[in-house]
């Protein structure tokens, strides 16, 4: 080996473009090249024979050295591409990549270590790691969002299916009364002439129409409750007579089904704040339910008591009962126990949902009990009991009296010709003189010519709406004192206010109850003179 070559080799060792360090197996630094010393800020004499290799590292790297680096050197004699921070003499970290081999030299084992500065590579890798973590987080979010979407899709699908089933039931139920009605129309047509309806035919007519009306009422009520569009007219009332009345109403259908209804009502009054019409509906629905789900020979009991500050109304039967797992579900909408079209009992399956909604609006609760299938059912309604009001107003019984020979003049405006016609006939029977119009402008011309005492205006008219028509009427000398009655589809407070603002005196929800209309007209008309 020439001196020149030896000098070149020594220079290459010192100035190599990587740091070189030799350490004993105890870690003591045996040699370090100039590059290594420069990168770490030490003079060779400050390292060689003075410091141990692990002392050039922060704690994390030292632990890693003991748990990974050293065992690897011991087991496989080498370690490569280890990324560790080394500490500069001034304390800052220098990210480095290290390779090492352990081998015997001059009879001693030693570790020969090569290092490269890896500042940029480390930054780059950190960015890659951060990007990966971010994309993993996004992937997890996405997965969760998809799961949620799937769940809500499933829920929507189930809801959709329940609604489809409900619509099928609805169509079926509305069609049922239509068949006898259309048959009856056919019978009347075949008989010809002005033959009067027989009592039996009238009963069919009235029963089927009542059935349809009940279905449609239930439907409207349930949607009003679910849209929050129902206002109760609460007033203190004694429940006993009301319950007695409802039970009596249910007797015929119970009898027809071979059932008995018994009432157990206390002698003392049961006072509660109720909307009479709605509570009647509640109890009637429960009784109707018992009738539907009992076999001939069963007994139905309507019982009312006062207990723990509540009025407790119970409807129990010895009917087909309710399976335990269905007890809480039966108050949900569209939740009839048997599939829609397989039943013979009829109904929309919304009766109990309606009961629950109406009872809740009264501040009460309703519960179902049953010992199981075949063991009968018991429905319990609880309403807050109140003290009797100081003076119980005597109920006034409406009298059905016409206005006499000088009957008032009324114009009825409705684009549904049949509805206008029938209301007109009813009003004529009550003694009014009636004319009918089917559009706002026709009605206006008619009224300008005849100046009637009152007008009943539908709001949804083909040309102008009822509010506009009312304003036009109020603008005329002949219309200033006319009694104007609005007929709207919804009975919300906002509808009533709109009617008042447009100049209406009275507001009715369709279908118009002509008895009530007559009553209110008579209380208003004389004052107008």
């Amino acid at each position: 080996m020439t001196d020149a070559w030896r000098a070149a080799a020594a220079d290459l060792w010192e100035q190599a473009p990587c740091g070189l360090l030799v350490a004993g197996t105890d870690g003591m630094v045996l040699r370090a090249n100039a590059t290594m010393c420069r990168w770490l800020g030490y003079a060779p004499a400050e390292l060689v024979g003075v410091r141990k290799f692990p002392e050039l590292m922060p704690m994390g790297a030292r632990v890693f050295l003991q748990t990974h680096w050293t065992p690897l050197l011991q087991i496989q004699g080498s370690v490569s591409e280890v990324q560790l921070d080394l500490l500069h003499r001034q304390g800052h970290r220098v990210p480095m990549i290290l390779n090492a081999i352990r081998r015997e030299r001059d009879g001693r084992m030693q570790d020969e270590i090569a290092v490269l500065i890896a500042t940029d590579r480390k930054l780059y890798e950190r960015e890659l790691l951060a990007a990966r973590a971010k994309s993993e987080a996004v992937a997890i979010d996405l997965e969760q969002a998809q799961l949620k979407l799937r769940q809500s899709n499933d829920a929507l699908f189930a809801e959709q299916r329940r609604k489809d089933e409900f619509l099928a039931t609805l169509a079926h139920e509305l069609r049922n009364p239509l068949a006898p009605l259309s048959n009856l129309v056919e019978v009347i047509r075949l008989r010809g002439g002005d033959a009067r309806l027989s009592e039996r035919e009238l009963q069919v007519l009235s029963r089927q129409v009542a059935q349809m009306a009940r279905l449609v009422d239930d439907l409207m009520n349930i949607s009003r409750i679910s849209l929050g569009r129902i206002d109760l007219r609460l007033e203190p009332a004694d429940l006993a007579p009301l319950l007695k009345y409802v039970a009596e109403e249910a007797f015929p259908s119970a009898q027809a089904a071979g059932l008995t209804i018994r009432t157990e009502l206390p002698a003392a009054p049961l006072w509660a704040n109720i909307d009479r019409a709605r509570l009647t509906q509640v109890v009637a629905n429960l009784l109707n339910n018992s009738v539907k789900y009992s076999l001939p020979g069963a007994h139905i009991v309507l019982r009312a008591t006062a207990a723990d500050g509540a009025v407790v109304i119970e409807v129990s039967d010895t009917g087909i009962g309710i399976p335990p797992d269905q007890l809480t579900q039966i108050f949900n909408m569209f939740s009839q126990l048997t599939p829609a079209l397989e039943r013979s009992q009829g109904g929309l399956g919304i009766g109990l949902a309606l009961v629950k909604g109406l009872v809740a609006l009264h501040g009460g609760t309703v519960e179902a009990h049953s010992e199981g299938t075949g063991k009968g059912s018991r429905f319990t309604v609880r309403l807050p009991l109140i003290a009797p009001p100081p003076s119980v107003a005597r109920e006034t019984v409406p009298t059905l009296l016409g206005l006499g020979e000088s009957g008032a003049t009324v114009v009825i405006v409705d684009d549904n010709a049949d509805a206008a016609e029938v209301l007109g006939m009813a009003m004529e029977m009550l003694g009014y003189r009636v004319t009918v119009a089917h559009s706002a402008l026709d009605a206006f011309r008619l009224m300008a010519a005849s100046a009637p005492q009152a007008a009943v205006l539908d709001i949804g008219l083909p040309d102008l709406n009822g509010y506009q028509l009312a304003q036009m009427i109020r603008g005329e000398p002949w219309g200033a004192a006319m009694v104007l009655v609005a007929a709207t589809g919804w009975g919300q407070e906002s509808d009533k206010r709109a009617a008042r603002d447009a100049g209406f005196d009275l507001h009715f929800t369709k279908p118009l109850d002509f008895i009530e209309l007559d009553k209110q007209l008579r209380s208003v008309l004389p004052k107008r003179g």
Binding site: G60, Q66, T67, P71, Q74, Q76, E81
Partner: protein, 266 residues
């Protein structure tokens, strides 16, 4: 899944008594390369890899189960149920000394004795207790772990599994003994270095040897002395060694200390 595959269980020797060797944080059962030949004439030796390490089935790594050392203790007891008849001699390194302690506390009858190699019951300093580390040190270690894949990538995983049977291949696979999934390694590091089982020491009822290195960064001498004091009747032996793995770097002294202890144990 078979226990054998889950923990890469290997049996050596044919002695009467059974000895179980459990590696610590970092590598795998190859850490016991000097111990197995030394004891295989006197013992039947069970070695295995902790789930998440070495040749274990990485798919069995459940972050919840292995979120505490109890998950590993449960595995150890399962292995004893399947592979050992009578009480065993347990030799456990580093964090596995605490895993062994938890198993021995749960089922003392399964163990004849235990040798804890470089144990620590708590790594982080706590008032008067000196574990040797601050929380910041542990975070620094986790950071170092994150930057070192030691050759890991998902495409390498199958090669690692086969490497143990093919020594000529393992030469090619540098760092293979410490190679593992980086996420698992980081989680295991966190569970290990944040564990505190000081309160469990007093419940130990089996003969115990604490084998402590004279200069060990991870388990300083005070820690070994603390453990020896806390386990009634336990013995402490100091091995003249720098580092955390006396069974690798000072095998002769380690073997001698173990033999002496075992000769004196029932």
């Amino acid at each position: 899944m078979s226990l054998q595959r889950r923990n890469n269980i290997n049996i050596h020797g044919a002695g009467q008594a059974t000895m179980v060797l459990v590696h610590g944080f970092g590598c795998d059962q190859s850490m016991w390369r000097h111990m197995v030949p030394a004891f295989q004439d006197s013992h039947r030796i069970i070695v295995f890899d902790l789930v998440g390490s070495g040749g274990s089935d990485l798919s069995a790594y459940d972050q919840t189960k292995y979120g505490t050392l109890h998950g590993y203790a449960q595995d150890l007891l399962e292995i004893l149920d399947h592979y050992a008849d009578g009480p065993v001699v347990l030799v456990a390194h580093s964090v596995s000394a605490m895993i062994g302690l938890l198993a021995a506390n749960a089922a003392p009858a399964r163990f004849a004795a235990q040798i804890m190699v470089g144990p620590s019951a708590c790594y982080i300093d706590d008032e008067s207790y000196r574990g040797g580390f601050s929380r910041a040190d542990i975070e620094d270690l986790l950071d170092t772990m994150a930057g070192n894949y030691l050759g890991w990538s998902s495409t390498m995983a199958p090669a690692i599994m086969g490497a143990a049977d093919q020594p000529e291949l393992s030469v090619e696979l540098t760092n293979s003994f410490c190679r593992t999934d980086p996420d698992i390694a980081k989680h295991f590091a966190r569970v290990t270095f944040l564990s505190d089982h000081r309160a469990d020491l007093a419940h130990c009822t089996i003969p115990t040897l604490v084998m402590q290195c004279t200069d060990d960064l991870i388990a300083p001498r005070e820690v070994g002395e603390f453990i020896q004091r806390a386990i009634t009747g336990s013995k402490l032996v100091l091995i003249d060694n720098t580092g955390h793995c006396p069974h690798l770097s000072a095998p002769d002294a380690s073997i001698a200390a173990m033999r002496e202890f075992l000769a004196g144990s029932p």
